[in-house]
């Protein structure tokens, strides 16, 4: 039977949502997020783009004092915070079941 895949349930997305949720009141840089979540840029950016398209992530340009280029910074929107909490709690509920199946 065909089961449609639930979006944003991959471990990588959940790791990113978790990292963004931990610092929901502050703006985060891409490299900073990559280091915290251990995601490579090839995984991180498509996830960020998807979350932004879905309206769960907002971004802006942050200018630093020196002559460097402005950086793109990200944080969850209000809908994103609710969504991330929901996704992560679903994941937490399924964890004992998954570990029981795998053992």
């Amino acid at each position: 039977m065909y089961m449609p895949r639930i979006p944003n349930t991959s471990p990588q997305t959940l790791r990113l949502l978790d990292a963004l949720l931990q610092s929901k009141d502050s703006w985060r840089h891409g490299y900073d997020l990559a280091q915290e979540t251990m995601l490579k840029s090839g995984t991180l950016y498509p996830l960020l783009m998807r979350l932004a398209d879905q309206g769960f992530l907002k971004s802006r340009w942050e200018t630093e004092g020196d002559n460097r280029r402005p950086r793109h910074v990200y944080r969850l929107t209000a809908a994103g915070v609710t969504y991330a909490k929901e996704r992560l709690s679903v994941q937490q509920r399924h964890l004992p079941l998954r570990s029981a199946i795998s053992t």
Binding site: G30, Y31, K40, G42, M49, R71, H72
Partner: protein, 203 residues
């Protein structure tokens, strides 16, 4: 800054410029974000970071291609696919049929297994253009890598013209490079840039 790291940093910026060309227009902001981020990435991570960015841009380009229309006729594009992939496919069929006559059989088997990617790409290209089936980026990453391996093996032939090259007819051949690399690359480039996003129909 050492010569090696300067070289890596130059490569990283060249790759990023390529990523910028590949990224669909409505996502250009994201490439600028990657570019700005590169200035803050530790030097020994820079190249890896940029390679990831290039992959991200290709994923976006494939997504656009999967939901796009072509600005020129699909039938014309299928003829182009045939022109670009058929010569190498015929080469592959010829190699398979004449396998027993080659002395260096192991090398021949390796070559034939690498070039099998060309008929597979021919099929995928036609499937995408004629049947309008979506492209799968993992398949395309693997096929690009295999074609890159072909190029590397061919270049052994270029570096050792006196000795037997490791590839196919055991010597470097511009014809092979043209068939295996230039034509498929040209075709993929055309396909990706002839695809434009479908206009949104306002009800």
């Amino acid at each position: 800054m050492t010569t090696g790291s300067r070289f890596c940093s130059r490569i990283a910026y060249v790759l990023l410029r390529h990523a910028q060309a590949v990224m669909p227009r409505h996502r250009r902001d994201w490439v600028h974000a990657m570019h700005a981020e590169l200035e803050h990435v530790e030097q020994h991570h820079a190249l890896r970071w940029v390679i990831g960015c290039v992959i991200a841009c290709y994923i976006e380009r494939l997504k656009i291609m999967n939901r796009s229309k072509f600005i020129i006729s699909r039938w014309l594009l299928s003829v182009e696919i045939l022109v670009c992939f058929l010569p190498a496919t015929i080469l592959w069929i010829f190699a398979m049929l004449n396998m027993s006559s080659f002395i260096e059989k192991q090398i021949m088997i390796v070559s034939a297994s690498l070039i099998i990617i060309v008929p597979i790409n021919l099929w995928l290209g036609l499937r995408f253009v004629v049947m309008q089936r979506p492209l799968r980026y993992k398949v395309h990453v693997v096929s690009t890598l295999l074609l890159a391996v072909c190029a590397v093996l061919q270049s052994f032939g270029m570096q050792n013209p006196e000795r037997e090259a490791l590839f196919f007819w055991f010597e470097f051949d511009w014809g092979l490079i043209f068939m295996l690399l230039v034509l498929p690359a040209l075709c993929c480039w055309h396909l990706s840039f002839f695809a434009v996003e479908k206009p949104v129909v306002v009800q």
